[in-house]
């Protein structure tokens, strides 16, 4: 990588100052804590230098979502053989209906319910009189219409907590009556500061209402692992699973992309938890470690260097057979990796990338870009915590611009001034960026492409970055009669 593409710390610091000057004083002070550049001190200690997981500033156009999005949208929604009730008014379930692209195999409305919008559609009378009675009735109705469901989750929307409904009591009663798993989740959108608390609450619900209520029968094997926190967006978890199986591991549970309830119930029987999205499921891994003595390992299946590193790291938890298999797997894909790099690296080398995404990607994809010769010049998390930013220091270069819970205003200014070759963020950021003439890929939904995980996914990732940056359309933005 050429040095002139390295992030420019002084420029970035000046840019932060310039942006903050445009805020009212109070907001500038608040936002100032969330913007910085990555630095390493003389003792060699690196920091992103930002505060995180703090309330968003009103009126600045935060890009964040809510706890409901973190629970229903992220953690629970993909569990395919359960019906997930969006409990409250119609909107939340409507806007999140089929938007995460959590792929699965199954028959919708029969034994799988991922792409359905099931809601109690609260009316004014429910706000006034409470929704518990109707919730009971609704659970009965769902069991009649969807008899093959393995369970029901109740995803609370804002009003539930405000009107004092007791959804836990309903869950207990219905569980007793039907024997089926009923999971009440207190993920009202006003709780916490972002999606993040929703993940945590959803994790706790798995602990309390799945683990505590089930006694799975399972003949354990020495190589049983859970693949945790891969939501199978565009099919991500499948190439990941393929790699693990190829190295001789038995994936007994896949969470929660393409997951069945049985795979969740069985998890405490595994030997090791492998966690991809640390942010959204570290809680349940820590719980399984404490309660069931199951160690957990973070891994990263974006891009060949991280994949190889992760395969070796995972293998190191097992015996020599698995370790030898890991080397075989890495060797097996060497040809594919070389071909992909030969094809795309010359087209992408030296390109500057800005990211602004969710749970793990602001750091996890960085090395995949490095593999292609591209440089991350700015990155930030919608709902990261301090531990995310600490982990990020291992991934990004000195001087990289860091922005936590960035506002629309800040992001536009940063993009306009830095003029990266590519921005990776979400649907809300996509069109403003493209209008500026800056190539863009949605890095939540893979822009309707994917999978991006594993070696099979890396080829698609490389192709997609190339087609975004090297599209001929960018040269047509200026009318020829206006071109200088």
């Amino acid at each position: 990588m050429s040095l002139d593409n390295a992030p420019d710390a002084a420029f970035n610091e000046a840019l932060i100052k310039e942006v903050l000057e445009q805020y009212p004083e109070k907001a500038a002070k608040k936002r100032g804590r969330h913007l910085n550049v990555k630095k390493t001190d003389d003792a060699g200690s690196s920091s992103c230098g930002v505060k995180s997981n703090i309330k968003s500033v009103p009126g600045v156009m935060t890009i964040r979502g809510c706890a409901y999005a973190g629970s229903k949208g992220v953690v629970w929604g993909p569990v395919k053989d359960m019906v997930h009730i969006s409990h409250g008014p119609v909107g939340c379930g409507h806007y999140s209906w089929s938007q995460r692209r959590n792929y699965f195999n199954g028959t919708v409305g029969i034994d799988s319910f991922v792409t359905m919008q099931v809601t109690s559609d609260f009316q004014e009378r429910d706000i006034v009189f409470g929704g518990d009675k109707n919730l009971e009735k609704m659970i009965d109705e769902l069991n009649v219409l969807f008899p093959l469901n393995k369970g029901i989750s109740i995803q609370s929307e804002c009003p539930i907590g405000l009107i004092g409904d007791d959804i836990e009591a309903v869950a207990k009663k219905k569980h007793k009556e039907t024997g089926k798993t009923i999971v009440p989740v207190r993920c009202e959108g006003f709780r916490g500061v972002s999606q993040s608390l929703g993940h945590h609450i959803a994790n706790d619900a798995i602990r309390d209402w799945v683990f505590e209520k089930s006694k799975p029968e399972w003949e354990t094997g020495p190589y049983d692992v859970n693949l945790i926190a891969d939501y199978n967006i565009g099919g991500d978890a499948w190439p990941s699973r393929k790699l693990l199986e190829e190295m001789g591991l038995r994936v007994v549970g896949m969470w929660s992309g393409d997951a069945t309830l049985a795979e969740m119930e069985r998890a405490p029987k595994a030997k090791l938890n492998l966690i991809h999205c640390y942010r959204s499921m570290n809680y349940i891994c820590r719980h399984m470690e404490e309660k069931y003595n199951i160690p957990w390992v973070e891994y990263n299946f974006f891009g060949p260097s991280q994949i190889a590193k992760s395969l070796r790291k995972i293998a190191s938890q097992f015996d020599e057979t698995i370790q030898a298999n890991a080397e075989k797997v890495i060797a097996k894909y060497e040809g594919l990796v070389a071909d992909v790099l030969a094809k795309f690296k010359p087209r992408l080398e030296g390109k500057k990338v800005m990211l602004y995404v969710g749970g793990l990607r602001p750091r996890h994809v960085a090395n995949a870009y490095d593999d292609l010769g591209m440089t991350i010049v700015g990155t930030g998390y919608e709902f990261g915590h301090n531990d995310d930013y600490q982990r990020t220091t291992d991934y990004v270069k000195e001087g990289t611009l860091i922005y936590d819970d960035v506002s629309g205003f800040e992001l536009e200014q940063f993009i306009e001034k830095i003029r990266p070759d590519l921005v990776g963020s979400g649907i809300k950021e996509k069109y403003a960026t493209q209008k500026m003439g800056v190539p863009f890929r949605q890095m939540h939904s893979w822009d309707y492409s994917g999978p991006y995980h594993g070696y099979d996914g890396f080829a698609i990732f490389a192709r997609d970055m190339d087609l975004a940056i090297n599209s001929p359309i960018w040269s047509k933005f200026k009318a020829p009669w206006k071109a200088a």
Partner: protein, 508 residues
């Protein structure tokens, strides 16, 4: 190995490769504990029966795949249609992330909206501090000409008073005292996005008309157009304006997103572009009349407008021959401007096209779902072409709408077999399509699940359209729009015919 650099396979083809099919089969057999294929197949068949339909229609609480969104979505859509206006939502921030994403996915445009991010403390103490700070930040950073405030259900449940809060924010100089901040309470647990549209439109008009503007006492010559919530607004508004310009009518199009949600790519991001000017909005109080293009998006608004002494008229989505005729004749009646020969010729060309093609549509059965106004005009247009609207379903349709839709079907022999389904959802429609099938479905992208399950082809004609690109950039209103609707329906009819080897005709 399934993947190669030469021919990179993404999800569309990768997961058909044998390695993945084997992975799926193993996962299913060893780890998933799903019901057996026989049990699944039996349930699939059972859901197609009348017995299942009866169970399905017996439910009282569960709402499954409803074709409606919530109030604030309609409110922010209204707000976006004004010059330099920033929609602002008082309440939880997650809702705003959803509205922005939802509209961006359909229009493929940036959708700037701010939230004031109320959290647990605001739930206890109320959201006054949020609105005071939020208005100041939004005003300073985004430099709007107007901020329009609506609410999420959180703010509504705790009973925040927008009028008092905004007044306090102005006292605290969050925004200048004379800066327009119209508002509407838009609880998600009442009505749907069409209700929110109505409430917010009334909120904006009453802000200007009751506080700022004066009735001059003599009605002007202008007419106002209020379009309603329309995913095709970008093209439809322009088409309506073309007609009005052609007729020489002086008008104000109130809440016009046509340029807002259709900005060019030329290197500049326009956060604000187009929209009804605030001056025009103020002056609109003195119009001669106001026409709502969608009755169920402007019930309260038109009632309010009438209190200002204006004539009002409401239409149900002017799509099709009769609906366009009625709209143009009303405009002509109100303004005294004749419908020119050029428009009459357009009409003639549409009638000509339908005459050429009607044989392919005569007697074909359609299920139509969508917003109340869309359903009415779509059903009416189908009947004009000799097709039969068999199921007409609006999840957000009420009793009035139901009566109106029934009367519409009763007005034509082609509606004789038609049934109206107010307040029902797309899981109800699934049962209807299995037990009383149609030849085609007309609706939004959400209809693709019905198409997959029932095998009945879907024609995408209404918001939201997420899985096809740019449909909304071409009009469905007026005679030209009707022609486009006709062609889309015909294309699907011919595609179905082409599925047969024998009937694979070159000429039709």
């Amino acid at each position: 190995m399934p993947q190669s650099a030469d021919k990179i396979k993404d999800h569309i083809s990768l997961f058909k490769e044998p390695e993945y099919l084997e992975l799926f089969a193993t996962k299913k057999a060893q780890f998933e504990c799903r019901p057996t294929d026989d049990v699944v197949a039996a349930q699939v068949e059972y859901t197609k029966t009348w017995e299942y339909r009866e169970k399905n229609f017996a439910r009282e609480i569960a709402t499954i795949n409803p074709a409606k969104a919530c109030q604030p979505l309609g409110a922010v859509f209204v707000a976006a249609g004004f010059e330099g206006t920033l929609p602002y939502v008082h309440g939880s921030q997650g809702c705003v992330a959803y509205f922005r994403s939802h509209l961006a996915r359909h229009f493929k445009e940036a959708v700037p909206i701010v939230a004031d991010s109320m959290t647990e403390d605001a739930a206890v103490f109320g959201g006054l501090a949020n609105i005071v700070e939020g208005l100041q930040n939004a005003y300073t950073l985004y430099k709007p000409k107007m901020i329009v405030v609506s609410t999420t259900c959180m703010a509504e449940v705790i009973g925040d008073d927008l009028s008092a809060f905004i007044a306090t924010a102005k006292e605290k100089e969050s925004v200048p005292a004379d800066f327009p901040v119209p508002f509407a309470h838009t609880p998600s647990f009442v009505g749907s996005h069409t209700t929110g549209y109505d409430n917010q439109m009334k909120g904006i008009l009453s802000y200007f008309w009751d506080r700022e503007s004066q009735l001059t006492g003599t009605a002007g010559e202008k007419i106002n157009i209020i379009p309603g919530f329309d995913g095709y607004a970008v093209a439809n508004n322009r088409e309506i304006k073309r007609y009005l310009d052609t007729m020489g009518v002086d008008y104000t199009f109130i809440g016009d997103v046509s340029d807002v949600y259709d900005t060019p790519s030329d290197g500049e991001y326009r956060m604000y572009d187009g929209g009804t000017t605030l001056d025009d909005t103020r002056a609109a109080i003195n119009a001669k009349a106001t026409i709502g293009l969608q009755e169920y998006c402007s019930l309260k608004t038109l009632e309010y407008v009438a209190t200002k002494g204006q004539q009002t008229a409401a239409f149900n989505y002017p799509m099709g021959i009769g609906a366009t005729d009625a709209f143009l004749m009303k405009v002509s009646e109100l303004t005294g401007k004749a419908i020119p020969a050029s428009i009459e010729k357009e009409r003639g060309r549409l009638v000509d096209a339908i005459t050429d093609s009607q044989a392919w549509l005569h007697g074909k059965k359609f299920a139509v779902f969508g917003d109340p106004d869309f359903c009415l005009s779509m059903a009416a247009f189908l009947m004009e072409m000799g097709a039969e609207p068999t199921h007409v379903l609006a999840t957000n349709g009420g009793k009035d709408w139901e009566a109106k839709a029934k009367a519409l079907l009763a007005s034509s022999p082609f509606g004789a077999s038609g049934q109206v389904w107010a307040g029902k959802d797309l899981w109800h429609l699934r049962s209807l399509l299995f037990t009383e099938p149609t030849d085609f479905i007309i609706g939004s992208s959400y209809g693709k699940y019905l198409e997959k399950d029932t095998g009945i082809p879907l024609i995408r004609m209404t918001f939201p359209i997420f899985d096809r690109h740019h449909h909304h950039r071409f009009p469905t209103f007026g005679y030209q729009g009707a022609l486009r609707v006709l062609v889309e329906i015909l294309d699907r009819v011919f595609e179905v015919a082409d599925e047969s080897d024998i009937s694979f005709d070159l000429t039709r």
